[in-house]
């Protein structure tokens, strides 16, 4: 299982400290999570009937959009035949797969009755958008597992099994793209059901479309983020070919976020709410922040060739997009909600501990997988030469 990456690279002191911090945060998260499962949501969260959904759902939504990188890239490779994107595929699929595993963990922790998590498999209510979301997340996690399985088997020196699974890559990718487009948009549908509660700046008949487009836009930035951070963290050099892929991601982002912005403006105009967007009250400020940070600035930055050519520029812009998307989901789940007067919600420290722990566990697993599995081209070539 040991690859060249492991043999040649010795973790630095900062690396070890980072791993130690991530490990401790994971342990804290696991401990708090177990305590929450034993004692219930009442003792470990600040949620209430006015705010039944909080921090965890917000991060579920954001993580699902973030993990949209995997389906966006698979669609580019398989459906749009952009084979050169395969250079970054493994790192992004790993990111998406871990993202979905974390979402499943968070959803389980967030259920009032986690012992009944399997009920959505037994009792069907096909009217429910959440039913579709649950099924799609489950099935798509299986799809991502299958998409990532060849890498694991290659790492385990079982190239025949890896090859056997890889033969089905195209149908698997198509199923994955279908499932993703279904649930990424249905997450928006969840909020269609609350015309009285969600602020008009966010509530719109086009909410499912907004969620879908923003997941594609976020996905493109996830490709940039995962590739740049992955290569840097593991001390790999980014080839010119990879940079040209990232450059294309930047170009595609302009197009995707451009459509998103146009539709958003059109939606506000049609509903006659453009004035509300510039009312500069709490909601309007959050709304503008999300649009400027996550959409407008990235469009401007990605449009600059020097930004797309420099690693720092790409990384910064992708981070802006991520922040904007997290803000957008946060606004939909919390800021945009009209609640009874006097009700408020600040996450309990245990909610934060579980959230941070889950994210730390994800980063840790991602780092370890990227270190020990043949994710990068150099490792793959080394492995091939070993086998030959």
């Amino acid at each position: 299982m040991a690859t060249t990456a492991m043999k040649t690279k010795r973790p630095s002191l900062t690396g070890l400290i980072t791993l130690g911090i991530l490990g401790s945060l994971t342990l804290l998260g696991v401990g708090t999570g177990i305590y929450r499962l034993l004692t219930g949501l009442g003792t470990t969260t600040n949620l209430s009937d006015a705010y039944p959904w909080g921090l965890w759902i917000d991060f579920d939504f954001a993580l699902i959009a973030f993990s949209g990188g995997a389906f966006t890239l698979c669609a580019l490779i398989v459906i749009f035949n952009q084979r050169r994107c395969e250079a970054v595929e493994r790192l992004v699929v790993l990111t998406g797969w871990l993202g979905y595993v974390l979402v499943l963990v968070l959803l389980l922790v967030d259920l009032g009755r986690p012992d009944r998590f399997y009920h959505f498999i037994m009792y069907f209510n096909h009217h429910s958008p959440l039913f579709e979301v649950c099924w799609c997340i489950l099935l798509y996690t299986i799809v991502l597992t299958l998409e990532f399985a060849p890498v694991v088997f290659e790492g385990l020196r079982k190239p025949k099994t890896a090859h056997a699974i890889h033969r089905f890559a195209v149908p698997i990718a198509i199923i994955g793209v279908t499932l993703s487009m279904m649930h990424q948009s249905t997450l928006g549908t969840l909020y269609l059901a609350m015309p009285t509660k969600l602020h008009t700046l966010w509530h719109s008949a086009m909410l499912p479309l907004f969620f879908l487009i923003s997941s594609v836009g976020m996905g493109l930035s996830t490709v940039v983020l995962a590739t740049l951070v992955g290569h840097r963290a593991l001390g790999h050099k980014i080839s010119g070919e990879t940079m040209s892929v990232l450059d294309s991601m930047g170009k595609a982002s302009i197009f995707v976020w451009g459509i998103y912005l146009l539709l958003k403006l059109e939606d506000l105009l049609m509903a006659g709410q453009l004035g509300e967007a510039f009312a500069f009250d709490t909601q309007s400020v959050w709304f503008l922040a999300e649009l400027v940070i996550g959409v407008l600035l990235p469009i401007i930055l990605y449009a600059q060739p020097w930004v797309r050519k420099s690693q720092g520029g790409l990384l910064g812009t992708a981070l802006l997009t991520t922040l904007g998307t997290v803000l957008n989901r946060f606004n939909t789940v919390l800021v945009g909600q009209k609640v009874v007067e006097g009700a408020s919600y600040t996450p309990h420290w245990m909610e934060i501990a579980v959230q941070v722990g889950v994210l730390a566990a994800g980063i840790l697993a991602w780092y370890l997988a990227a270190s020990f599995l043949p994710i990068f081209l150099r490792d793959r070539l080394a492995l091939q030469s070993l086998q030959e």
Binding site: G42, S48, D110, L111, G112, H119, L130
Partner: protein, 241 residues
């Protein structure tokens, strides 16, 4: 098959909250202390919601008693991923506590905010734990309902229009080969029975001769958030000013 509905006459209502208290006692709704209540976690299947309307100096106070609307087109049923919320043939919207996974989507979706999550294990201070209603509980194979029913931590609960009392009265009428009388029906839910102002009616909305359907057709009748299309079966009668 009847279609049960409720009429609340706001002109008669004195906002005394007796309905709220009767509901808590009848349905074994757990007590919420000051801390939980201030966090917005008190379970109140029935509430009297106060508000102020008009513009200064022309102001008036409004009080709206609010049970579950038992909508004919309920959002809560549509959004439940496991079908734990269902509509009975007689129009009652019920919650299956054994099927509920506690995802709280129905709380998010209900525009009337009549659904409550059990954030903690249900608790009653002494000696109230000795006074739980034994008639209210899950349906028994031998007929009737076992109890006292206490909902576990982690599931969502809501008003049932006192289905256990309704079933009992239906059974009794059947055994005596008769229809339930208007008087009997009006006093069926605990909130109605306890109303000192006789402001509440209960009955079959599909029976054109019943008091509720007659009142529902009247000029004073209105329903909450009618434009959402949820078709609530709790109908209010406007108060005169």
């Amino acid at each position: 098959m009847p279609r049960w509905g409720m009429i609340i006459d706001l002109d008669k209502c004195t906002a005394c909250q007796a309905c709220t208290v009767a509901c808590l006692a009848e349905n074994n709704v757990p007590f919420a202390g000051p801390e939980e209540t201030s966090m917005g976690r008190a379970i109140l299947w029935h509430e009297v919601i106060g508000g102020i309307e008009g513009e200064y100096p022309d102001l008036w106070a409004t009080f709206i008693p609010r049970p579950c609307m038992h909508c004919d087109n309920p959002p809560c049923i549509k959004v439940c991923p496991v079908g734990a919320t269902y509509r009975r043939e007689d129009g009652l919207v019920m919650q299956d506590y054994d099927q509920c996974i506690g995802c709280r989507m129905c709380i998010v979706a209900c525009p009337y905010e009549v659904r409550y999550f059990n954030w903690r294990n249900p608790q009653w201070p002494e000696p109230m734990d000795q006074y739980l209603n034994p008639d209210q509980g899950p349906p028994q194979p031998t007929g009737g309902r076992g109890g006292p029913d206490v909902r576990p931590r982690g599931v969502v609960e809501k008003c049932t229009f006192c289905v256990h009392r309704l079933e009992k009265a239906e059974r009794k009428a059947q055994q005596e080969y008769r229809e339930m009388s208007e008087q009997e029906l009006t006093l069926l839910p605990a909130c109605n029975q306890t109303c000192p102002a006789s402001a509440r009616y209960f009955g079959d909305l599909d029976n054109p001769k019943s008091t509720v359907s007659r009142l529902a057709r009247g000029a004073r009748a209105f329903r909450l958030l009618e434009d959402l299309g949820t078709e609530p079966k709790v109908i209010y009668l406007k108060e005169g000013r």
